[in-house]
């Protein structure tokens, strides 16, 4: 107990300053969002009185709620699909259940290697042909299976001891049962990370939601914020920072909520 406490104090000493630097831009964001007139200048923002004017303006913009809902719907759908496909594919690859598995994995990772600026136009053509443009489907379906997530789970599975699965198999369980009863619980930390990173990437995604969606009623938050706060040559800093602060909250919530799933991994060995 006291050794933990001692460890804690020493950690605070050298992690604390590092944490401060990591948090500094947020402090900047928060301060600028609270300053009625700052023009993006921290000095000016720190000086004056603070009020919630920008946040009020943000929520009085009726569209913001719609953008929030759209972003949430799309992000949650993508997370659910990513977690499912990554768990399935990652396990199969990690346990070498397909011939030439290493090449499969390299191939899947290779789909990350072409930049989206180039992929965007042909993907637009595909969505146009499938008549999926200007719909939630355009922002969900192409991203249902994510190479990053699959690769993550595959690596995680590769590090898991196979004994538990073998034990289940000896007991006569089918693949599906083994997967559901034995593997999935072990994969919780990895799937929690998949959920976080999937949500994060999708929540902040800008290019595809801008290009694939035309109607304002389906607009997502990052695009909506840019429309409301950025013109060709100037930025409405207060509004943008208030919007960005609000936009970070759901991601933080997902992160905090998923922490206990990451922590539960250490029970893996104990469960026999």
């Amino acid at each position: 107990m006291s050794s933990t406490e001692r460890a804690g104090v020493s950690r605070w000493l050298w992690l604390g300053p590092l944490l401060a630097t990591m948090l500094f831009p947020f402090a900047w964001m928060l301060v600028v969002s609270l300053a009625p007139v700052s023009g993006g200048s921290l000095a000016r923002a720190l000086r004056g009185p603070w009020d919630l004017g920008h946040y009020r303006a943000l929520f009085e913009t009726a569209a913001i709620n719609r953008y929030l809902v759209n972003s949430a719907v799309v992000a949650l759908a993508v997370v659910a699909l990513n977690v499912a496909t990554a768990a399935l594919a990652g396990w199969v690859l990690g346990r070498r259940r397909v011939p030439g598995e290493r090449w499969w994995t390299l191939g899947i990772v290779a789909t990350l290697m072409l930049p989206k600026q180039v992929l965007m136009i042909p993907l637009y053509l595909v969505l146009a042909r499938l008549r999926l443009l200007d719909s939630y489907a355009a922002l969900i379906l192409p991203f249902a299976a994510d190479a990053f997530s699959i690769f993550l789970v595959r690596q995680f599975v590769a590090a898991l001891p196979p004994e538990l699965e073998e034990a289940a198999r000896v007991d006569g369980a089918s693949d599906w049962l083994t997967f559901r009863r034995v593997v999935l619980p072990l994969l919780r930390p990895a799937l929690a990370v998949v959920a976080i990173q999937s949500f994060l990437t999708n929540w902040n995604s800008f290019l595809f939601p801008l290009v694939f969606i035309d109607s304002d009623r389906l607009r997502t938050l990052p695009v909506g914020l840019a429309l409301l706060s950025q013109t060709e040559h100037s930025v409405d800093w207060g509004f943008l920072m208030a919007g960005s602060t609000v936009a970070s909250l759901p991601v933080l919530a997902v992160f905090v909520a998923s922490q206990r799933h990451i922590l539960s991994g250490l029970l893996a060995g104990a469960e026999k």
């Binding site: 007139v37 700052s38 023009g39 993006g40 200048s41 000095a43 000016r44 600026q117 965007m120 136009i121 637009y124 053509l125 146009a128 443009l133 800008f206 290019l207 801008l210 290009v211 035309d214 109607s215 304002d216 695009v223 840019a226 429309l227 409301l228 950025q230 013109t231 060709e232 040559h233 100037s234 930025v235 409405d236 800093w237």
Partner: protein, 409 residues
Amino acid sequence: MIGRRAAGRAALLLAAVFAATASCARAGHEIVFWQFWPAEVVTPILERFEREHPGTRVRMEQLTWQSGLEKITAALASGNVPDLCELGSTWMPRMLDSGQLADWSAGVADLRPELRGWELCTIGDAVYGIPWVMGTRALFYNKTLFARAGLDSTRPPETWEELRAAAAAVHRLGGGVSGYGVQSGERYVLFKKFMPFAWGNGGRILADDLRSAVFDSPENRAALEFYVGLRSVGVMERQDVLDRAFKEGKIGLQVSGAWLFKSIPRDAPGLRYGVALVPRPERERGTHASFAGGEVLVSFAGSKQRQAALELARFLVRPENALALAASAKSVQPAGVGIDTAAYYREHPDEALMVRQFETAVPTPNHPAWVDMEAAIEDEIEQALFDRKTAAEAVAAAQQRLAELVGKR
């Protein structure tokens, strides 16, 4: 059996009626309009249009400046184009070359004398759009700093020498204050901040027939030497940082754009500033040249409602409608000739000065390889700004690259 056949025929009749009414609804016109301005500014104008044209609806979709061009490009690639679209003048040379813009030469012939900026959307004798609003650059100066430096804040500099002297005087104040805000290497911006001096000195980029480059001239060399020389009485930064510093009262003078008219009251309400035409080389020589850019309304060859789009475009460029947009956005001014006599501009002399600046503003050549040419010029100016080349070397190097590009398409 009979019941089924009757039902089938009824269904067919119903379908026919449905199709007929559906196409009737379409025949009432829905114009898809893509543009970049805030909805609250543009929607009232569009509603007025709908009242004047009953049965016609306008579906406006707002694009962001960030990545908006990618969206337009994707739409063109797939043929899924809007009926009416706003394009920035920088994109026009390539668009004009693409063959995708609808030819409006006949439809806008009567508007020619009423608007300026036609060179932005004209190739040869054919016109492919209508100029909507124009944007240019002028000299902004800080009156408080002028007063502190012992300068007359009602008399902004009119010549290069006066500009340098004023910048030097402000620069001497010290304490974090700089005289002139020199725009340093920023793609697609540096050009607009330097060329006014070159143009004002009589310098040109391409010959009028667009077949040869005439950039290497004493006029351009002198302008570049002058611009580079301003570093010693100023600070070199990116545009938005310069704007921010100007609003904080740390910069005496800079060439910037009308967007400051909107952002200064918002971000620095107490700032006392003035606007002036870009200084010319000497009192009796050269012009107060500046950069001429703007937004053009176009329709595409693949658009479904080209005629209706033209009507909407003609409506939008009417003086009162363009003025409604300009008065709200402030970063642009209507393209209408003589618009500075409107009551709004009599009440806002600073913005009226922007309109006057257009009269001596120079558009960029409509050469298909223009983007590469602009990049070449900017690269070489940067080389001079960072002391990698002298002004003469930089201008010569730019000339060489322009000469190579002029032959290409």
